[in-house]
Amino acid sequence: MAEITRLIHEYLRHDKKFPHVWCPGCGIGIMLGALIRAIDKTGYSKDDIVLVSGIGCTGRLPVYVDFNTLHTTHGRALTFATGIKLAKPRLKVIVIMGDGDAVAIGGNHFIHAARRNIDLTAIIVNNNVYGMTGGQYSPTTPYGMKSTTTTYSNVEHAFNISELAVTAGSVFVGRGTVYHAKLLDSLMEKAFAKVGFSVVEIISHCHTQFGRLNRMGTAVEMMQWQRDHAVTVEKAAQMKAEELKGKFKIGVLVDRNLPAYQDEYEKVRRWAKGSEKR
C-alpha cells in the first residue's frame, strides 16, 4: 500500500461525512497532511493523542481525524488542553488554532500557557484573516491591508505570533508556510518531541477572503508569494536588515530546554506530602 493510502486509512475518520468544510485551495489541507505524517512518526498510539481546537476554519480540523478530539469554544482551546494534560499527563495533547483564535480572543491564554511551559504543542495556522465569518481583519492582518471590516485600509499593526511565543517563554518555536510542506513535517516532528510548550506557526493563505479583497490572486499565486517572501533562519543570519525588509523567517526560531509545568508540579506534590523538603 502506498504510504499516503496507509496514512489516510489509519488516521482519517471513516464514519465522518466528507467532504470537509474548507474551500478548494485552502492551506489547511496541506497542514493536515503534515500533521498526520508528523504524528505517525511520534510512535504514539492513536488512543493517547488528544487533538484540541477552538473555533474557525482551523477549528474544524479535529472532527476529521481519528484521535480523542475536542472542538472547544473560541480562543479557549489551550485552557481545555491544560486541564487534559494535567489530569492525564501521559496523553500527548496537540492544540490546533487559527490566528484570531490564538492571539485575539485567546491571546491571554496563549501567553500564559507559554509562560507556564505546559507540555502542549500549539499549531497555529496564520492566514491573516477571519475566514469562516467572511473575511474580517485579525490581529495578524498587516497594516494597510483590506478586509471586510477594514474596507478603507487596516490602521492597526499586526502581531508577530512566533516572536510573541518566544517572548512569552515557549521552549520551541518554529515557523513554516504551507508552500514549504516538507519543512512543516520537520517542524512538527521537532515540536512533538519537545517537553514543554512548543509552537509551530504556519503561514497560510485565505484566497477566498483575504486574497480576493487585496487582489492577491489565486491560491497558487498566494503560495508563490509565500515562496518569495520566506527566508530561512540560516539564510537570514547572513542578510542585512534592509534586505530582510518585507520578508519573514522560516525554520526553527527557538529551541531551548526549560522544566515543564507538570514536572515542576510534581515537586509541589512531594513538598505537600512531606517526602521532600522545600
Binding site: 487534559i84 489530569a87 496523553l91
Partner: protein, 381 residues
Amino acid sequence: MKKKSKKRELLLQGNEAIVEGALKAGCSFFAGYPITPATEISELLSVKLPQRDGTFIQMEDEIASLGAVIGASLAGAKAMTATSGPGFSLMQENLGFAVIAEVPCVIVNAMRGGPSTGLPTMPSQSDVMQARWGTHGDHPTIALCPSTIRECYDLTIKAFNYSEKFRIPVILLVDEVVAHMREKIAIDDEEDVEIFNRIKPTVPPEWYIPFEDTPKGVPAMANFGDGYRYHVTGLTHDIRGFPTSRPDEIDPFIRRLFRKVSQNFAEVQIGEFYQADDADITIIAYGSVARSARRAAADGRERGLKIGVLKMNTLWPFMRTQVEKVLRTSKVVIVPEMNMGQVSREVKRVNKGDAKVFTINKVDGTIITPQEILGRIKEVS
C-alpha cells in the same frame, strides 16, 4: 481499649466545608482565579490537592479556569472551580459548553452584591437567575444552595454526584454569609456516604456511541485516553458527536438534555419543611435567609402565630411540587431574599391564586434578620 473514633469535630467556615465535601466526593482537580468571597476554597485546595496526588492550578482568568476544569473532567478527573458573581459571568461561555458536551463538573459561586464589581465582601443572593439563564441557549440547570455548614459539606458531595450521574455542570450557590460563617460540624471519614462515579462504556470501542439516547437520557462516558476515540464539540451534534444541522437529529438531542434532568426531579429537588403542616403563614427561604426564617417562625409561634418554613436546598430545577403544596395549605406565603425577587418570581409563577404571596427584598448588602421577617408578617396578616 476504646477504639479511636474516626469522627473529626471541626469548626469550619462554609468555604472550608465545601472543600471537605469536594475531597470526600473524590475531587482531584481544581482550577480557579482569585476572587472574594470564594478565595478560601482555592487556598485550601492548593494545599490539600497535591497532598493526595491531585492538581490545583490558578489560571489566568475564570474563562480559562472552567476550560481547564472541563478538560480535566474529559480526561477522567472529578473537577471543580469556585468563584463569585463577576467570575461566574465570565464562566457562562464554557458553562454552556459543559452543558452541550455533557461534561460533569462543579462550579461554586459564593454570591456577593452586584451588578458588576458591586459589593465584594457583602452578602447577596442575586445570582439565582444568572445560574439559571446565564449561558446562552436553551438548557437545563441544577443549582444547589446550602444554609448551614453541614449543608455546605453534604451539598458539595451531592453536586459532584449529580454532575457525574447526569453528565451536567452543577452549580453550588452559596451566599457570602454562609461562605464565611463558622459552625461546628462532625465529619466521619469512615462514614458510608453515597459517591457516584460516571458510568463508563462497557461495549468495545467500535460499538461505542458517545451521545446515544438511552432510556435514562444519560449516555455512558468514556474518558480521553481510555481507548474510545470520539469527538466532543460545542456544536449541536448527532449521537456520534459529529456536528449536525439535521432537524431530526437536533430536536431529540436538545430534548434529551432536558429529559435527563426532568426525569429525575424527585432526586435532585432537596428541601425541608419545618412546622409546615398546620401553618397559616409559610416562609419560603434559602441560604442564610433560611436560618432567619426558622428563627422568625419559632419566635412567631411563641406569640401564637402559626408560621412554617420551606427551606429550599435546590434552587434549580425549581421545586414546584413542594412550593405548590405550601401555596395550597397556607393563607400567606412570604419569600424573603437578598435580591429584588428572583425566587419569589418563580413562586408567583406557580401560584394559582391559592395563597397571597409577599416578598421581602433586601439589597443593601446586609442580612435579613428574623425581626424583619416577623415585621413583614405582621404587616401583611
